[in-house]
């Protein structure tokens, strides 16, 4: 015997749960809201956000900044997500392969201090990637396929290498200071950004990273500076 249950029809398209004070915790579930395109829940102490396949088509904007979500970020992202903001949570599982999120343009997971792990290959659709203060290790992956990328912020992690390849001319901000990038990685990023030929961007490879070959006489560093880039090196 099966008890069939027909969910009620949902009509709301956007919901902002507001900000509570003192902060309310608990869990948010949108598994019945098939028409929902946007949900915002900022500055609460929510510990779980539940989605399902019913949200894959329409839910494209999620902002859960400053809550207490745990686990992996992809468990909170429906298939057609465009903008995902999960900064300042307590995500504690490394980034999974994100290549299936073919519409993803903005991913902000900064200040999830216990995330760890490496940076996977990022979707080609991505424009903004912010993963500062996430305890990331390993390589900055090749960004050659990220032809729409505009801004990268991986400041204050424990990244050591750059996998090489080109960086799109759409990139105007690349922030990776206070990692442990070796000289070859710093050289590679400087060269890739310089080769892209863009003017007037921001490139920060300073702090705890290695200095580039030849320091402030590095030819890529000089070339970028002459084209209006604000470049910081160790």
């Amino acid at each position: 015997m099966r008890l069939n249950f027909t969910p009620t029809e949902e009509v709301a398209t956007e919901v902002d749960l507001g900000t509570s004070c003192p902060k309310l915790s608990g869990q948010v579930s949108v598994t019945s809201y098939t028409g929902l395109t946007s949900i915002t829940c900022v500055g609460n102490d929510v510990t779980n956000f539940i989605i399902s396949s019913v949200n894959d088509d329409n839910l494209q904007y999620i902002n859960f900044a400053s809550n207490k979500l745990t686990g992996s970020v992809d468990q909170y992202m429906p298939q057609n997500i465009i903008t995902a903001t999960f900064q300042s949570n307590t995500l504690d599982v490394p980034l999974a392969n994100l290549s299936s999120y073919t519409l993803l343009e903005n991913l902000n997971i900064g200040s999830n201090y216990s995330m760890g792990g490496g940076i996977p290959v990022l979707p080609a659709s991505l424009k903004l990637f912010d993963a500062q203060f996430c305890s990331l290790t390993g390589n900055i992956p090749s960004l050659s396929s990220n032809i729409n990328l505009q801004s990268v912020n991986v400041t204050s992690n424990d990244l050591t290498e750059f996998s090489g390849g080109t960086i799109s001319s759409t990139v105007t901000s690349f922030l990776a200071e206070n990692n442990n990038l070796v000289q070859g990685a710093v050289d590679g990023i400087l060269a890739a950004v310089n080769t892209a030929g863009t003017n007037n961007g921001e490139l920060n490879l300073g702090g705890t990273n290695s200095a580039p070959t030849s320091g402030s006489l590095n030819t890529d560093y000089i070339a970028l500076s002459s084209r209006g880039w604000a470049v910081s090196i160790a």
Binding site: N4, T8, E9, V11, A12, E14, L17, V28
Partner: protein, 116 residues
């Protein structure tokens, strides 16, 4: 012997109303279309900037006996809990969209089936 079959929105054991039905550990009735589940808020807890965008008007029942009407297409409200929390039993009007917040239980939003 035939067994009386009740509608899924009116489950009973004999004449006793059933308040929830589970399939395994999953609650299948009432609808688990909860939006926000949180523990009973402390007196003075405030939610600021609760906003709904919907093609039809909505009613927010905050779970403490108070409610606000949210006008279509977009409306915003704040709410402060006064410490007199009590269970919420609400009967939605046929054509309304509801957000409900039941401290300790649910906060949800839905439209009744069959309504425009």
């Amino acid at each position: 012997m035939s067994v009386p079959l009740n509608l899924a929105d009116n489950l009973k054991i004999g004449s006793t109303q059933v308040t929830a039905a589970y399939l395994g550990s999953a609650q299948v009735w009432p609808s688990t279309n909860h939006l926000w589940y949180f523990s009973e808020p402390a007196t003075g807890t405030t939610i600021k900037g609760f906003e709904i965008t919907s093609p039809s008007d909505s009613t927010v029942s905050w779970g403490d006996g108070l409610s606000d009407v949210f006008s279509a297409p977009t409306d915003t409200a704040d709410h402060t809990y006064n410490g007199e929390i009590r269970d919420l039993y609400y009967q939605p009007s046929p054509n309304d969209t509801f957000v409900y917040m039941q401290p300790g239980v649910t906060c949800g939003l839905y439209k009744r089936p069959g309504s425009p």
